[in-house]
């Protein structure tokens, strides 16, 4: 019997599915770790290893106490086995990275090579000309490029560990000011055990001359990554921040619980873009990163603006709501998101826009793509308080389903407490079906191209918000992730 062309289609699909996650390798390196498990002593040890000032140890211990008294949130549309927090390594650093390095030349070549393989070059000759990068490997930052160049314009871009000691007044003032220690279970956990991350400070009237970027790499199979990013934009300043992440392919799950805090003072603008490509588990749903992240920006001053753009393609579980607190009058918050899930991935992601200032405006554009047996949920909260006279929000949530077994949900909560507000909400659900694919094929256009076209059409609006180098990459990434999911 000849099963005409289905056979051919299937071979194509198998070929495409078997294309491995290209960042799935791991680096074999001598490590300095703190034994598995979490107690007060672990927290003290982390602080000790990092030579932290007393205020930070107190901060951590307070967070640990809060965390112990809290329980995991249960309201999300996610299902996963109980996480054993005592079975996680909370501190894992390459041994060679123990002391502070004065120069990137001192970085372990093995580590440089790892980042090289990921397409992130830290060495002078090959690094990107217009992007400064902080590279974080498991628990520590291994190097930050262009530091001297940035310092000329007064911009501070350093690992948060360095910043804690060198700019402790700024850290003490702002750390935990946007995401309080006890904000949620994962933020409390992060506040207790965070090990590294990036710190960035843009002084008054400065437009940051380079895009700043942090690249996160989880390497250790048993370690969690708990990083912390703090970005402060003073009056009239501007910065573009990019974030990328990958992890090796293990059949166990790794926990990633990060916090990002952004502060925009009067008339300051922060654009924060993420391309998240953590290992998402295999086609049967085993392995992958649990990504529980709290990201929040405070538009503290009038006319300030914070814009989140995210392309979420990886992780076995994503729990993430980059939000804006629009405190300043005429401040603006934006959230542009593409979340793609395939196989058994689950994403519960969205945003919160809290309107406090007069005439504050927010815009939400969320695109969810679900393929395979995945679950993709948009969860949003627009809260307009009684003080936010003349506030406006526009939300648009579009879902795209691929195949018959995927799942898309939208939970847009809206709360308005004054009558001068304008709120708009639009939502749509569509599907890439076999018939659409067949239409393309019949016109001689191949499967890969067909999917690429449909996906990039669906995400067009978001991709234009990404920095140029990221946009092309995101387009490719989505296509790669989806290959083989149709047919």
């Amino acid at each position: 019997m000849i099963n005409q062309s289905k056979k051919v289609l299937n071979t194509n699909i198998t070929k495409l599915v078997n294309k491995t996650y290209q960042y799935g390798f791991s680096t074999n390196i001598e490590k300095d770790i703190i034994e598995k498990g979490l107690n007060e002593e672990t927290v003290q040890l982390i602080s000790e290893k990092k030579n932290e000032p007393k205020f930070l140890l107190d901060f951590r211990l307070k967070a640990y106490k809060k965390w112990k008294a809290m329980s995991e949130p249960e309201w999300s549309y996610l299902k996963f086995p109980q996480i054993n927090y005592q079975d996680i390594i909370y501190y894992s650093a390459p041994r060679s990275q123990k002391k502070k390095l004065k120069d990137l030349k001192e970085v372990d070549p093995e580590l440089l090579q790892t980042f090289e393989k990921l397409g992130i070059s830290l060495t002078e000759q090959k690094r990107l000309a217009n992007v400064a990068i902080d590279a974080v490997f498991d628990s520590v930052s291994i190097g930050t490029t262009f530091q001297t160049e940035l310092q000329k314009s007064g911009v501070i871009f350093a690992s948060i560990s360095d910043a804690i000691n060198e700019y402790s007044n700024l850290i003490e003032k702002y750390l935990g000011s946007v995401v309080p220690i006890g904000d949620n279970y994962f933020s409390a956990l992060n506040s207790a055990v965070f090990t590294d991350g990036s710190f960035c400070y843009i002084p008054e009237n400065v437009v940051c001359p380079l895009d700043l970027s942090t690249y996160f790499r989880i390497n250790d199979q048993n370690a969690g990554q708990f990083e912390r990013t703090l970005v402060i934009a003073e009056k009239n300043s501007q910065v573009n921040y990019l974030e990328g992440c990958t992890a090796p392919q293990y059949d166990t799950n790794q926990l990633h619980a990060a916090i990002v805090e952004l502060i925009a003072l009067e008339n300051a603008k922060i654009t924060y873009s993420t391309v998240q490509n953590w290992y998402s588990g295999n086609e049967f749903g085993s392995g992958g990163i649990y990504n529980f992240v709290t990201k929040r920006g405070l538009c503290a001053g009038s006319y300030s603006k914070i814009s989140w753009t995210q392309v979420e393609t990886g992780s076995s579980i994503t729990w993430k709501y980059p939000s804006c607190i629009l405190m300043g009058d005429n401040s603006q918050g934006e959230f542009y998101s593409v979340a793609l899930t395939n196989n058994y991935q689950q994403a519960d992601t969205g945003t919160k826009m809290i309107h406090l200032g007069k005439n504050s405006r927010s815009r939400i554009v969320s695109k969810g793509i679900s393929a395979g047996k995945s679950k993709n949920t948009y969860r949003g909260f627009v809260n307009v308080t009684n003080k936010a006279i003349g506030a406006r929000n526009y939300s648009q949530c579009d879902s795209l389903l691929i195949g018959n077994l995927s799942n898309a949900n939208t939970f847009p909560y809206i709360s308005v407490q004054n009558s001068t507000t304008k709120i708009e909400h639009e939502a749509s659900t569509s599907k890439i079906g076999e018939e659409q694919i067949f239409y393309f094929l019949q016109r001689g256009i191949c499967l890969e191209k067909a999917i690429e076209l449909m996906i990039s059409g669906f995400c067009k609006e978001i991709f234009t918000k990404l920095p140029l180098e990221f946009a092309a990459e995101a387009d490719k990434l989505l296509t790669l992730k989806l290959e083989g999911s149709v047919g």
């Binding site: 005409q4 062309s5 056979k7 079906g433 067949f438 019949q442 001689g444």
Partner: protein
């Protein structure tokens, strides 16, 4: 290929979907320059037949052969068949949100160019070509910037199919109820497009329910399909007879 050898030669074709047999021992030979009309009651297998020719993956060919330009194409996937010169104008052209008609048409055109090792066209060069073809089906250039079939009226969708057929200039065009849902003016436009496409080196299979399309496009053969096979073949007069008497008398 011999001058008189058939473009399409179907022998004892047996096709099923989900274990239901739809086509049973179907035989059909189409030579260059011929127009074949296939008529028949609903559910007789006409649309299945068109999709099987184009290589739709849902159908299982359990017996028989389809030879196109002398080669069996059963093992060929849909895009290969397209490149070889089989075009299907869909009964229900599908909407593709987010993809502009212009991009779609250009990619389709360039895919074929590439297959034949001919130069691919850039958007500007392509615009010149497509603008000229638009006139054949009386479509405004505004169609190009709209998404493929999205929000198109029934008539616009069908004209878009004919536009693609003319653009790709395939050797064999299968038109699946291209006339259904068209008003008289649209029917004329579509027919003009089809006649413009047709030459002595091409062939057309017209699947239709109505004689009225055949007023504009004169078929060389009319076949009646019933229960998955061709039960009668005649000249264009047969269509008139069917229009008058229905299908019952054939049993």
């Amino acid at each position: 290929m011999m001058l008189n050898s058939p473009l399409l030669d179907i022998k004892n074709l047996q096709v099923s979907i989900n274990e239901t047999e739809i086509l049973k021992n179907l035989n059909l030979t189409v030579k260059k320059g011929e127009i074949h009309a296939i008529m028949g009651p609903n559910g007789s297998g006409k649309s299945t037949f068109s999709k099987v020719l184009a290589g739709h993956p849902s159908y299982l060919v359990s017996n028989g052969d389809i030879r196109f330009k002398g080669t069996s194409i059963l093992e060929f996937d849909p895009e290969q068949r397209s490149h070889l010169g089989i075009f299907l104008a869909f009964q229900y052209p599908i909407e593709i949100p987010g993809v502009s008609n212009e991009d779609f048409l250009r990619l389709s055109y360039n895919a074929k160019q590439k297959f034949y090792n001919k130069p691919e066209l850039d958007p500007l060069q392509f615009l010149e070509i497509i603008n000229e073809k638009l006139e054949f089906v009386n479509m405004s250039p505004l169609f190009l910037s709209r998404n493929v079939n999205e929000g198109f009226s029934g008539g616009e969708k069908k004209r878009n199919e004919i536009l693609q057929m003319i653009l790709l200039d395939s050797d064999l065009a299968i038109l699946d109820e291209t006339d259904s849902g068209l008003d008289i003016d649209a029917l004329k436009t579509v027919s003009m497009g089809i006649n413009r496409f047709m030459t002595s080196s091409k062939s057309i299979i017209l699947i239709t329910h109505y004689q009225r399309l055949l007023d504009y496009i004169k078929p060389d053969f009319v076949h009646v399909m019933q229960k998955g096979k061709i039960i009668k073949t005649g000249s264009s007069k047969l269509a008139l007879e069917l229009e008058e008497k229905g299908y019952e008398w054939l049993n």
